[in-house]
C-alpha cells in the first residue's frame, strides 16, 4: 500500500513537466536557468557525499571518498568518457582498501 502511494507521488513529478511543457516556446531566462540545472543537481548530490560522513565534516586523510573522488573526477574531465571513471573509481577504492591504505 505504501509502495503504491510512493509510486503515485513520484510519477507526477517526472510526468507533468514533460506533458505540459512539450511543444511550447519558453522565455529566455527560463531556458538559461534550465541549462544550469543538470550541473547544479549533480553538484548538490555529490558534494555532501564527498565532504560529509554521517552528517559531520570529514576533510582529512581518512576520507576515502574524497581522495578517490578527486582523481575520478579528473579522469572524467581528461577523457570525456563516462564509463572509464566509474570503473576506475570503484576499482581504485577496492585496491586501496585491499592494501589497507584506508
Amino acid at each position: 500500500m505504501i509502495i503504491i502511494a510512493m509510486a503515485a507521488v513520484t510519477a507526477p513529478t517526472r510526468l507533468l513537466p514533460l506533458w505540459l511543457l512539450g511543444g511550447k516556446t519558453l522565455p529566455k531566462w527560463f531556458v538559461t536557468w534550465l541549462k544550469f540545472v543538470p550541473v547544479a543537481v549533480l553538484a548538490a548530490m555529490v558534494f555532501p557525499e564527498l565532504l560529509l560522513r554521517g552528517g559531520e565534516f570529514q576533510i582529512d586523510s581518512t576520507n576515502e571518498y574524497l581522495w578517490v573522488g578527486i582523481p575520478t573526477f579528473a579522469l572524467g574531465i581528461a577523457t570525456r568518457n563516462l564509463f572509464l571513471p566509474i570503473i576506475a573509481g570503484m576499482a581504485g577504492l577496492a585496491l586501496l582498501r585491499y592494501f589497507s591504505i584506508f
Binding site: V9, T13, V37, A44, P48, L82
Partner: protein, 239 residues
C-alpha cells in the same frame, strides 16, 4: 548492418549507450535489495518498489523509515520531497522532446532518472533526440535496477559486505563522471561550486534532501544572473 545498429539512433544503440548507468545501477540496486531485506521487507515488496517507484535515494530513505516504524503518510511525503527534484529535470529535458508524441514523452518521463537525464542531455547536444534511443536507455537502466534489486534480496546471505569490492562507491563515481561530462563553460564551474557548497552546508545543518533541492534551485539562478550580466556588458561595449 550491425555497425549501423550500434552507432545509429535505434534501440540497440540506446541499450549500449546505457552501459555506464547499468554498471552503476547493478551494485547500487543490489545494495538496496540487501538493506530492504534486512529491514524486513518481503521479496515482492522490495521488487515492486524498484519496479514502480524506481527512485534510488527515495527508496533507500523509505526503507530506513519503514524499518524504524515511521507512519505511512510520513514515508510518502518524504518520498515526494526527496524525489521532487525530478520536476526540474523533467522540465529541463522537455524542450528537447517537443517533437515526440505525447505517449512517448509520458513513457520516457515515467522512467526518467538523474543518471539517464544527464546522459541524454549530453547526447542531445550532438544528436537529434530519437525517442527509440532514449526509451531504450531508460528501459535498460530500469531493467538493471530491477534485476540488481532482486539479486540483492535473494543473495543477501551470501555477500555480507560490498565494501571490499568498492561497490559502495558506485553512486558517487557515477555522479562525478556525469558532472565531468556536463561541465563545458566557466559559468557552470561557479554554479557547481555554489550549489555544491550550499548543499554541503544544508546537509550539515540537518536539512537533508531539502538542502539538495534548494541548492538545485538556486545554483542555476546564479548561472542565469552571470550569463545575463555578460550579455549586457557585451551590448554596452558594442554601443
Amino acid at each position: 548492418m550491425l555497425n549501423r545498429a550500434v552507432n545509429g539512433d535505434g534501440a540497440l544503440a540506446g541499450i549500449l549507450y546505457a552501459a555506464p548507468i547499468v554498471t552503476a545501477f547493478l551494485p547500487l540496486s543490489f545494495a538496496f535489495g540487501l538493506s530492504a531485506r534486512e529491514s524486513g521487507l518481503t521479496f515482492l515488496q522490495t521488487f515492486l518498489m524498484s519496479l514502480l517507484v524506481y527512485a534510488g535515494s527515495s527508496q533507500m530513505v523509505a526503507v530506513s523509515l519503514i524499518a524504524s516504524g515511521e507512519a505511512a503518510w510520513m514515508i510518502v511525503v518524504t518520498t515526494f520531497i526527496v524525489n521532487s527534484r525530478m520536476l526540474l529535470l523533467s522540465a529541463a529535458i522537455a524542450p528537447s522532446l517537443d517533437r515526440w508524441k505525447i505517449r512517448e514523452r509520458l513513457a520516457f518521463g515515467y522512467l526518467l532518472t538523474d543518471e539517464s537525464f544527464a546522459l541524454l542531455m549530453t547526447r542531445f547536444r550532438t544528436h537529434a533526440p530519437s525517442a527509440e534511443f532514449a526509451l531504450a536507455v531508460n528501459a535498460a537502466s530500469h531493467l538493471a535496477w530491477a534485476t540488481g534489486t532482486a539479486l540483492g534480496h535473494l543473495f543477501s546471505g551470501l555477500i555480507p559486505d560490498v565494501k571490499p569490492f568498492g561497490l559502495d562507491f558506485a553512486l558517487v563515481s557515477m555522479l562525478l563522471a556525469l558532472l565531468a561530462l556536463q561541465l563545458r563553460e566557466w559559468t557552470m564551474v561557479w554554479v557547481v561550486l555554489f550549489s555544491g557548497i550550499l548543499a554541503v552546508w544544508g546537509v550539515h545543518a540537518g536539512l537533508g534532501s531539502q538542502a539538495i533541492l534548494v541548492a538545485t534551485l538556486l545554483g542555476p539562478l546564479l548561472g542565469t544572473a552571470i550569463e545575463f550580466q555578460k550579455a549586457r556588458r557585451c551590448r554596452t561595449e558594442r554601443s
